[in-house]
Symmetry: C2
Subunit: 345 residues, 2 copies
């Protein structure tokens, strides 16, 4: 059973999940030579996310299927529990004290959305209509997890590329539900609430106004969303995709907004792909599951964090970031980059 | 001039330092093929940290020299300003507002401690007596920066290996003085103060007691310091080196403690080297420059953060970490690993 341990000073919770049994030699392997073509082919054959290998994953939570038989198998999108789960749904938190520290059982959900049957597909190349279904799957699972016991927060994210923490080629996203409120996300919620109290408006709505007017950080825009590089970006080419309608939760995104979200994600990710030669990135959802008193002050959105530089001692020791690319420059490059909207809309 | 920009929600400051002019093509280069032996040899010849190339660095701040002529040149340790400084000493903060955002000039100090004349030396292989001098240089520069205008915080850190954000082979550490208090460090200071208020003791002193008694996370110990893997480690093999005497600032470390610190850093880093096959890591100082009312509640120390895994969407989107190695296991491996104390004491 994974374990949650609380830092007595910062009060942050850490998940100790040793199920994969990391010994020193496992870390050494991680730096081994690149795989041969043969090894890669073998890997594809064994890929648990590929059609035909469905029995290698835990039983699926849900799937979206074509009415007929599709070229690559009958399903288009599958939601499954992660076989290597950081958190597990069965059991109780069993709060205990180990000396001066607090410990909880690692109760929660750790799911995978397999985004397409195609092992070698690239997310921004998928048709907009398909990305729209992926987003629908995100929201469907988000709503399911909202009503589970012990769930305090749900994050949806997509890791692309080795520098973003994934080595799995088959396109997929992850959804993790935690039994505690993560510290840094909570500071964001509280920070927005403080801004609201002081300025009498939502901070993200204020940023939307500011960026629409300034224009030089805008990457793409449609009816429902604005995509822009963030004024105080921690990462080079860090981009926000923010709904124009003020809502605290991704739960409340409308189907029309879902379509616009698919379009703008495709636009931004394909420009990132072309501008930076398929960089590693993390796409992360920032949303309140149950907004309560934060309904007016919090504003859900997605963040795209390209992994072009490596945070080092300064960043890890202070929490402060050095960004080598001005957000205005990054936005200009992204605006000028090619998109895949035309070729696979 | 680099710029500091404040996030209106989290209130964290970000350094936008574009002096190196990162365009998309610069990031592409970073993922180019490994260097040839010839390129490496050329690089060594041009290394600005090597004896003979002193004129390639900005004028030195201070150096420690042998009384005679040493084999590799007359200096043993050099403190210099970083040629590619993230922050620059000259000028004023010039606080201004850009729409809804706060902006400061990037005033501060960005220094390098060249730890040895030997380009190919490895830090944990250096004699303890030499590491002691490196630590003395840390403290000397720390004390100098304490009295400079606009300096709110000083961090000393050592990046080792590509995954820890450095590609420079020549052994060196960095010292950065910031004109604002970094958010995450400040949460640590405030968290410790809250603990002190509630428990009427220093949180780090409480951890020292807890770890000495438990024993299973202890890696090494001497008169003045305890080294242990942290109970709520965010990173696999994350290790703290903590002075037993309660002090809020590295400024107040005694020369005797400096000797013990050199010994324990050598012990821990050499065990890490042997246990994990020379892993990338960041060594970071956590210390209050001017403790003031936090004298009793804050406790300075070093953290060693091995970079064995890659934080991904979950970590970046929540601030919560998943650690795949139990700290107790990590400590056991480090205790059992060989050290270099005998061969180069």
């Amino acid at each position: 059973m994974p374990e949650l341990r609380k830092n007595i000073i910062t009060r942050e919770w850490v998940v100790i999940a040793t199920e994969r049994g990391k010994r020193p030699s496992d870390f050494k392997k991680a730096t081994a030579a690149a795989k041969t073509d043969e090894q890669k082919a073998e890997e594809v054959k064994k890929c648990p996310f590929c059609p035909g290998n469905e029995n290698q994953t835990p039983p699926e939570i849900f799937s979206y299927r074509l009415s007929g038989i599709a070229k690559n198998g009958a399903w288009e999108i599958r939601a499954i529990p992660n076989k290597f789960a950081a958190l597990q749904p069965d059991g109780n938190l069993d709060h205990k004290e180990v000396g001066i520290f607090d410990v909880l059982n690692g109760i929660g959900y750790s799911d995978v959305i397999i985004e397409t049957p195609g092992h070698f597909e690239r997310f921004p190349f998928l048709p907009k209509s398909h990305i729209e279904k992926v987003i629908k799957a995100y929201q469907e699972r988000y709503l399911q997890l909202r009503d589970k016991p012990h769930v305090e927060h749900v994050i949806i994210f997509r890791n692309h590329g080795e520098k973003a923490g994934t080595s799995l080629q088959h396109p997929h996203s992850q959804i993790i539900a935690t039994p505690v409120m993560p510290k840094e996300f909570w500071f964001e919620v509280e920070g927005a609430a403080n801004y609201f109290e002081y300025e009498e408006k939502c901070a993200v709505c204020a940023v939307l106004d500011f960026e629409s007017t300034a224009g030089d950080r805008v990457v793409w825009e449609n009816d429902s969303f604005l995509a822009f590089t963030f004024f105080a970006s921690r990462y080079p080419f860090e981009t926000r995709i923010v709904p124009k309608a003020h809502k605290a939760s991704f739960s409340d995104m409308t189907p029309y907004e879902g379509g616009d979200l698919a379009e703008i994600i495709k636009e931004v990710l394909s420009r990132l792909y072309n501008c930076l030669d398929d960089p590693s990135y993390n796409l992360t959802l920032h949303s309140l599951l149950k907004p309560g008193k934060y309904e007016e002050s919090y504003h859900w959105h997605f963040q795209i964090l390209p992994r072009l530089t490596t945070p080092a001692g300064f960043e890890l020791g202070t929490g402060m970031f050095i960004n080598v690319t001005a957000p205005e420059e990054a936005a200009k490059f992204l605006r000028e980059a090619k998109s895949f909207a035309d070729i696979a809309g």
